[in-house]
Symmetry: C2
DNA sequence: ACCTGAACACCGTTCAAGT
DNA sequence: ACCTGAACACCGTTCAAGT
């Protein structure tokens, strides 16, 4: 793809993200206009509205994964995961899409679908992470990693959603500490 | 409203629920046809597609509340909540709408929106429930009820979603036991 | 390849007319 | 009040034509 094409594509993505934040959903005509392109031109870059939405939401999750999930953090399991939670809270506090996506107050079903898939994927990844720590002897052998992974990810998600909707958000470090305490309690039960 | 009108309304609701299960979303023409009524006739009972969807999804939550949330269960807090979790798992295993709603694999944004609101509401209700037990001295005074409520409801939701998507679901009683163990660990931390 | 803008298609909604 | 079915409206998508 040419550099001109790439730049247009980026303009469309940025316009779509802004439109999503402003209206809890996107309108193709509005996005095209904001991006300075015709509707037909937009469709040259994205085959359908759902594809454009998917690109915007996937970019959000890619940012999160890069800063939190794939981050190389040294130390024993508990230290690593505690630090990961800190980073995840900071990420959600800072990213402009987080409040909208995390509360699911969205007018497009495609966003909700991707989000649900992403949460299920995170739960499975967490389960695998727990199982690895379990094999190392860092977690009790009795832990059901599959269920605990779902509990940790589903719970953390809702805790962050709750914090993001409060008028006065708790400090990121305090929220991370409380969240970690609950996560630690689950895996040590 | 006349008994004839009420019966028609019920037929529409039943057709919509079936359509939702069969197609992960509803089509007004399809629902009207399945309910044996014209499109215009359907609109006599529901002002918009979103209202019909809301009625179907709200009925699901009303069933859950009746069997689980508002149920009068005797005994101390831990006994009560453990029993509540058992009933919630049984409810989700039995209700035909549960797999679809709980996994959010839905083609209508309205469903996702209602579901997100309902989960946030459940988290606040759980927080109030925890606070009451805390005042009774049944839970540690250090517990942050607001965050714990979000953790419990968000986590439980994802655990049940995970179980419902497995080809071989764990036995309801075992799932309830494991879920309760994790919930108890959170509030006793 | 990249883009335009008018025509098209799909599906939710309305409405004049009937019982 | 309850219902019909054709017309309407809205918005995502296509496409012939341009650079």
């Amino acid at each position: 793809m040419s550099s001109r094409g790439l730049r247009t594509r980026e303009r469309i993505l940025a316009a779509a993200e802004q439109d999503l934040i402003a209206h809890d959903g996107i309108d193709i005509v509005r996005v095209a206009s904001a991006a300075g392109i015709s509707v037909g031109g937009l469709y040259h870059h994205f085959a359908a509205k759902d594809d454009l939405l998917a690109a915007v939401v996937t970019a959000f999750h890619a940012r999160h994964n890069e800063q939190v999930i794939y981050a190389e953090i040294p130390g024993p399991w508990r230290e690593r995961e505690r630090e990961r939670i800190r980073r995840s809270v900071r990420f959600h506090y800072a990213d402009p899409l987080a409040p909208l996506l995390v509360t699911r107050a969205v007018t497009d079903a495609q966003i909700a679908r991707i989000d649900a898939q992403e949460l299920a994927r995170a739960a499975r990844a967490s389960a695998a992470n727990l199982a690895a720590a379990q094999r190392n002897g860092e977690l009790p052998a009795t832990l059901d990693c599959d269920l605990a992974g779902a509990m940790l990810m589903g719970g953390s998600r809702q805790v962050i959603a709750r914090a993001l909707t409060l008028k006065r958000r708790p400090a990121a470090s305090r929220l991370a500490d409380e969240l970690w305490a609950m996560c630690a309690a689950i895996v040590d039960a």
